[in-house]
Amino acid sequence: MASAPSKLYADDVSLVVVLLDTNPFFWSSSSLSFSQFLSHVLAFLNAILTLNQLNQVVVIATGYNSCDYVFDSSSDLNRSFENGRMPVMCSSLLQKLEEFLITDEQLSKEEPEGKIKPSLFSGSLSMALCYIQRVFRSGALHPHPRILCLQGSLDGPEQYVAIMNAIFSAQRSSVPIDSCYIGSQNSAFLQQASYITGGVHHKPQNLDGLFQYLMTIFATDLHSRSFIHLPKPVGVDFRASCMFFKLA
């Protein structure tokens, strides 16, 4: 599919909605630790905000029992920068993320041992799309929105219908969904999402250099993507999951 066209308002101002996978089932077995991952991601988010002073970043945490907003760069609390010290952004994001993780865990019900739960990707994707619709309603001059998914958990086949609905709605509104898969296998849902909406999908080879992958591939605004060489899909896995039995 052709890459997403850019609209003619503010041409290189971006709104990036980041969906952060916080599923403990994945992070407990990942080679990259969650704190290292966060340091890469926070540096990347700061970089996006410095690329253009009108850029906006929104972060939604994707848990295994719930999803919630943890950061919005356009809200009044986060706008002031303190001279010389770490921007207010990091501390408020980390604080809200910690509160979210505690609440997410408390929502766990009794589960049989050994069952790995997927993260609630369809929920956070739907919330991101609702937020983007609100940005579209705010008037003619607004940043170009896109969604960046940082996922490592395996696909949950029971979410197939919901994820496909979200993908088609994003395609209709011309919102590209970029995805960076940091798990060990492959995610058919993320590949399909990026292919159908005109976003970029990448699975980094070496997770120690995650920040470099994020900066070189995912920091580009939509207007510049027409003249920057980004990874193209080699083969897209279009496998569906059985609608009746909810299995892959």
Binding site: G123, S126, Q133, M164, A240
Partner: protein, 388 residues
């Protein structure tokens, strides 16, 4: 009488002859002008639409013929610039919307001119070919014949597979029909063939159209103006309720072709010439097709990709409508959710009182009115239910 007045009006005045926006202003008890609350109006219209869409079985594989009346009545200028120009414009929008919502369905176009019905395009799944063919042939003349159109469509629709739903949408501008025989027989024939005929009239209500729609289970409506016509025609884009006996439910064989690798060369079966690169190979006979969805030219297998099927899923798994929140000041729950769960917009109005909001009956999350419309019309997922 408007046509005579138009000659004396300036161009800027002519734009106001159709829309009289000042007529929709209202006064309250003290004589002050009441501001027009567009958002609440829009939301109440949307809720009316939602109430009529109940959870009924729908026909997803549709074979629809659009019958366009090109008699001299279609060149009337009561719709600006002429009825046929308005019809053509909105048929184009309709065809695109139809294929977006029903990727597995097919459309054909039939025209009625000088009392004779012609098939303009064969039934097929490519929106561009229909639109291009339509835009070239828009000359109007002669009488209209409803019976000839129905006979022609009946002949074509009898050839389609039994699992498909047969539909006709007639866009009728004329006030009469010149038929060679008894149109009541034709209507009964259509009813026996299980064809669902709907009519959108642009002139006035006609008994024969109403009778046709009642007999075949379709809908009849008459457009009042251009925007109403657009609304009426787009109502036919989502799949209509299916009458179970009309289409036999059986397992349909479909192929899911792989995309050929970049740089591979093969002979394309639709263009009959060699092509390089992107194309799809039929899993049964390995012939190459250019685009999906289509039918393989060699073995006749329906070729689709799974996103095409997935586009119809929301018709099978609709989400429950949200309930309106009655703002009662004593309700403690109102204070808990100050922001819309989907977009984080504040649900309080400028006076810090609870503003209009809706709640999902399953997950009990609050949403603003705009998210309600977006979720039910475009997204088809409740973010609250998916985050549990």
């Amino acid at each position: 009488e408007d046509d005579e007045d138009d000659v004396d009006l300036d161009a800027w005045e002519r734009t106001y002859t159709d829309e009289r926006s000042w007529e929709s202003l209202q006064e309250d008890e003290s004589g002050m002008l009441r501001p027009i609350d567009n958002q609440a109006l829009y939301h109440s219209q949307y809720r009316r639409r939602l109430r009529t869409a109940a959870r009924i079985q729908k026909g997803l594989i549709r074979y629809l013929y659009i019958v366009i009346d090109l008699s001299r009545a279609a060149s009337e200028m009561d719709f600006r610039p002429s009825r046929i120009a308005v019809i053509a414009k909105h048929v184009e929008t309709f065809i695109r919307e139809f294929f977006y919502q029903n990727p597995l369905s097919q459309v054909g176009i039939v025209t009625i001119k000088d009392g004779v019905a012609h098939c303009l395009t064969d039934i097929g799944g490519s929106p561009e070919s229909h639109i291009n063919a339509l835009m070239k042939k828009l000359e109007c003349s002669g009488d209209s014949s409803l019976q000839n159109a129905l006979d022609l469509v009946d002949g074509y629709l009898n050839q389609i597979p039994s699992y498909g739903h047969r539909e006709v949408l007639i866009l009728y501008s004329a006030l009469s029909t010149c038929d060679p025989g008894d149109i009541m027989d034709t209507i009964q024939k259509c009813r026996k063939s299980k064809i669902r005929c709907s009519v959108i009239g642009l002139a006035a209500e006609m008994f024969i159209c109403k009778h046709l729609c009642q007999e075949t289970g379709g809908t009849y409506s008459v457009a009042l103006d251009e925007s109403h016509f657009k609304e009426l025609i787009l109502e036919h884009a989502p799949p209509p309720p299916a009458i179970a006996e009309f289409a036999v439910a059986n397992l349909i064989k479909m192929g899911f072709p792989q995309r050929a690798a970049e740089g591979s060369i093969s002979i394309c079966s639709c263009h009959k010439e060699a092509k390089v690169g992107a194309g799809y190979t039929c899993p049964r006979c390995k012939a190459r097709a250019c685009e999906l969805p289509t039918e393989c030219c060699v073995c006749g297998l329906t070729l689709v990709s799974s996103p095409h099927l997935a586009r119809s899923y929301h018709h099978l798994f609709p989400i429950a409508p949200f309930d309106e929140v009655t703002s009662s000041l004593n309700n403690p729950n109102c204070k808990l959710q100050r922001n819309c769960f989907g977009c984080q917009q504040s649900l309080l109005d400028p006076g810090n009182k609870p503003g209009p909001a809706v709640v999902c009956p399953k997950c009990k999350r609050y949403f603003c009115l705009d998210c309600d419309i977006y979720i039910h019309e475009s997204l088809h997922n409740c973010p609250g239910c998916d985050s549990l």
